[in-house]
């Protein structure tokens, strides 16, 4: 007897599924049921979403960021220039930063994609946008002609000076040799405040642009956007995966995914994303294979909820 036949006979011991139906038959209107269900569920869905639908928060843009938190914007632009931002150190698919990926032993899923969306943070996020100005700052030439070592010295110095300045305000920075960096970051701040940077950072040389990679990465590298998320309980370590803004119900079915990020060893693991994804993969496989796992498949015998649901049937058997 083949495995297939063994399984078939096991699942249908009495041949119940193959026996012809001898009970009563009655007319049943599938279209009526479909229509009624569609209309009733439609009304309930529209009604509930009118009351509980997620609020339409105003969009955060590079412009609103530059106006609300100029100091953070300048600090971020400096980090992009110096290659010290989160994006610059992210690894694939943006760049080849060494040891940036999450690994588990030899498993390095992030590197599988390769560098599909190459981003050079200094050029793509600061220098290129500035060259699109009607009159680009002449200091751009200083940056372009400088050596990598010189650039690092300038950005490190300016970054440190910003940290030490009162309110981190570029206006309060102590005098020092920052090269063209203060002028460049200040120009970019003005471009952003004027509302031009949002458009300039989207994919170029196409009329219709759907590539928001650069704007998204720049915004994400700042502290402003992350702080907004934290204030709304939307970050990963605040069960944010489950939450909507305010008290609007969120995607609570993600509770298990979200749960692992809150507990050790995942919470403090540097490769938490990889660990949690693998954990969920293992659990999903277990769930799929429930009928074949002794013990797990016996739970309905120990906690017979189905006997409660079909209690009429079981009472009269």
């Amino acid at each position: 007897m083949s495995t297939t036949n063994l399984r078939a006979s096991r699942a249908d011991k009495d041949g119940l599924a193959r026996r012809p139906w001898r009970g009563t038959v009655r007319e049943y209107d599938l279209f009526k049921e479909l229509t009624v269900a569609l209309v009733v569920m439609g009304i309930i869905t529209l009604g509930l979403s009118a009351v509980f639908g997620s609020p339409d928060e105003p969009s955060v843009t590079l412009k609103s960021w530059a106006i609300a938190a100029p100091a953070d914007f300048v600090a971020t632009a400096t980090a992009e220039l110096g290659g010290t931002s989160e994006t610059a150190g992210y690894g694939p698919p943006y760049n080849k930063t060494a040891d940036a990926t999450q690994t588990l032993g030899p498993l390095d899923l992030q590197s599988f994609s390769g560098v599909q969306l190459p981003i050079d943070t200094a050029n793509d996020l600061v220098i290129d946008p500035l060259t699109t100005l009607n009159s680009p700052p002449p200091e751009l030439a200083d940056w372009v002609t400088a050596s990598d070592a010189q650039r690092t010295t300038w950005t490190t110095a300016y970054s440190d000076a910003l940290t030490k300045a009162t309110d981190n305000d570029p206006a309060n920075v102590a005098a020092g040799d920052y090269g063209p960096v203060p002028v460049l970051t200040d120009s970019l701040l003005t471009t952003a405040k004027q509302g031009a940077l949002d458009g300039v950072l989207t994919a170029k040389d196409k009329f219709y642009n759907f590539d928001y990679t650069r704007g998204t990465l720049f915004l994400g590298d700042g502290a402003y956007f992350g702080d907004l998320a934290t204030a709304q309980h939307l970050t990963g370590d605040q069960w944010g995966m489950m939450n909507e803004t305010g008290n609007t119900p969120g995607q609570s079915w993600l509770w298990l995914f979200s749960f692992w990020y809150q507990v050790e060893p995942f919470a403090s693991a540097p490769n938490a994303d990889l660990l949690v994804v693998l954990m969920m993969l293992v659990l999903s496989v277990l769930l799929t294979l429930v009928p074949f796992i002794p013990g797990l498949r016996d739970i309905p015998r120990w906690i017979p909820v189905h006997r409660l649901i079909w209690r009429d049937y079981y009472r009269r058997r």
């Binding site: 009351v51 609020p55 069960w239 939450n243 008290n247 969120g250």
Partner: protein, 55 residues
């Protein structure tokens, strides 16, 4: 209805979060989960309305 909406709106901005230790849940999510469980229990114990006719 409008009162209900405005109560929700007033609850909106800060958001109410309940928690113990690492566990934290937003009030809206908690309500939705409790309602789901309640509906499941009701579906278990309430008799099916036209169940008698069917037999």
């Amino acid at each position: 209805m409008h009162d209900f909406v405005s109560i929700l709106a007033s609850l909106d901005s800060p958001g109410i979060y309940l928690g113990w230790g690492a566990f934290q849940i937003q009030l809206g999510n908690l309500i939705v989960i409790l309602v789901m469980i309640l509906l499941f229990v009701l579906a278990l114990f309430l008799p099916f309305p036209s169940g008698r006719k069917r037999k």
